[in-house]
């Protein structure tokens, strides 16, 4: 690759050694890198290599908001709300030809989106188009009529370099018996964890996706038979389910609060309708109950500031969604900017650009 080109002009073409070229490549977005695979054979190998994908993810990791509108015509859009308001329509041809009309994003991890489409599930990397169709789990299928009560999550197990889809469900017809199933992308099959644990109820008007954090998937739910709300946690490496209590004095209805990842922290957001505010609670030290702290109260003039937070930007701002806008608040709760989006967005989530492909596929 390093051939000195002799120019006729006085200026010599200065060629960078490959280690330096790689430093530059690592900072490019996925679209450019994909195009530059055509530069030459060695660039093709470098960019295709999993080590490069890993380093690129660590260094660059540009984030975007994915929105899905299922009302015809089906529209998948990628919005950059951190730097500019640039938006791109994404190709969703991989979904054809099935008649999908229902989409819920059940997780976003290392550039992959876990898309629940009622009749099946897709794992999809919007940056490079890599995708895989996953069947519903045995119980996901059997209890399909109760799908709004299902707790789905998606995460990554670094010890096996494997992605997992998890379903925590219960059977209302059979004494609320609870089941935990997981799909390993590497094993390409569903398994059930045999473990006696309670059933966990959600506010099923509003199916929640799990939040993947520190190697575990977290949901908020009510422990059946107790009317106590808890944080339910499934550790992907240990493959164990356990609970974490909510902060002391946290006495809100399940439909008024939720769990999300606020930068480096597990966090709770609470809609306070009487005061027209959103409270943000942060678990300053993971798994240390006493470290739950109310860190921010966001006010809006007339009405709740947003209906759900989406993510935190690199500069510490909060991106949320209200009826038909993406909104951005700074870490003091001041509105910075907003962007109108489709009125009929079925679901949205943040995802990171990555070059990753799925285990067992190239």
């Amino acid at each position: 690759m390093k051939k000195k080109k002799k120019e006729k002009t006085m200026q010599m073409v200065i060629n960078l050694p490959s280690e330096l070229i790689i430093e530059i490549l690592l900072r490019l977005p996925v679209k450019s890198l994909t195009r530059f695979k055509s530069v030459c054979k060695s660039w093709f190998s470098i960019i295709s290599h999993s080590n490069f994908a890993n380093s690129h993810f660590q260094i660059t990791a540009a984030t975007h908001i994915l929105t899905i509108s299922a009302t015809s015509p089906l529209k998948f859009q990628s919005i950059d709300f951190e730097i500019n308001h640039h938006s791109v329509l994404l190709n969703h041809n991989f979904l054809l030809p099935r008649p999908y009309s229902y989409f819920q994003i059940k997780g976003s991890c290392r550039g992959f989106i876990c898309l629940y489409c009622y009749i099946d599930i897709w794992i999809w990397n919007p940056s490079n188009g890599i995708h895989k169709q996953i069947p519903l789990s045995p119980l996901g299928s059997e209890l399909l009529e109760y799908h709004l009560r299902h707790l789905y999550g998606f995460g990554y197990d670094p010890s096996r370099d494997d992605y997992m889809v998890v379903l925590l469900s219960y059977d209302p017809r059979a004494n609320f018996s609870s089941h935990l199933e997981f799909f390993s992308l590497r094993d390409n099959m569903w398994n059930e964890i045999e473990d006696t644990h309670s059933a966990y109820l959600t506010d099923f008007g509003n199916p929640r996706a799990g939040s993947f954090f520190n190697g575990a998937i977290h949901w908020v739910a009510e422990r059946y038979g107790s009317s106590v709300n808890v944080i339910v946690v499934f550790d992907l490496m240990e493959r164990k389910l356990f609970e974490m209590p909510l902060p002391d004095g946290f006495d809100h209805d399940l439909e008024d609060f939720g769990l999300w990842i606020f930068g480096e922290f597990l966090s709770l957001w609470v809609k306070d309708y009487p005061n027209n505010t959103i409270e943000i609670w942060v678990m300053k030290e993971y798994k240390l109950h006493s470290s739950w702290t109310k860190t921010l109260v966001i006010c809006a003039n007339g009405g709740i500031p947003f209906y759900k937070p989406v993510c935190r930007t690199k500069s510490g701002d909060i991106i949320g969604k209200d009826h038909y806008r993406l909104v951005k608040y700074n870490d003091k709760g001041q509105l910075l900017e907003y962007l109108h989006i489709d009125r009929y967005v079925d679901d949205l989530a943040m995802y990171t650009e990555s070059l990753f492909s799925l285990p067992g596929e190239l």
Partner: protein, 160 residues
Amino acid sequence: MAQEASSSTSSKTISLKTGDGEIFEIEASAAKQMKTVQRLIDDLGDDITIPLHNVFSKELPKIIEYYKKDITGEITKDFEAEFVKDLNDDEVKVLFLAANYLDANKLFEFLSQNIADRLESKSVEYVRKYFGVENDFTPEEESKLREERAWSFRGIKEDE
């Protein structure tokens, strides 16, 4: 908050000599940020003129300007934008190589990102020329690659 160092020890300057024989002064605290320079100072002492064979009089002042701002904590996004504004792609490349040679980490990372930003929407041909890379794909291989990744070529002008 720039504090002018009045005491002699903290405002010590180091003399640097470029590959084309010119001499520039830099504050010792700024020199510390360039690990290559610091190593040479450690070996040769800080009283003699430090020779930098691979850095030239066109680039060194610019690098010194950057680190002058760095030691007073004044590097902002605006400063960095201004810093590279008038440099063309080749000039940035030379500066980048110099930052690498000097082991000036902060400048190196900034310039890596700046070059990446400049190349983001460029064509494959431009990038080949920029890095002096030969195309070793056959025409058939290349057109197959482009076809498979047509989406990544969307909106890219071929002659830029």
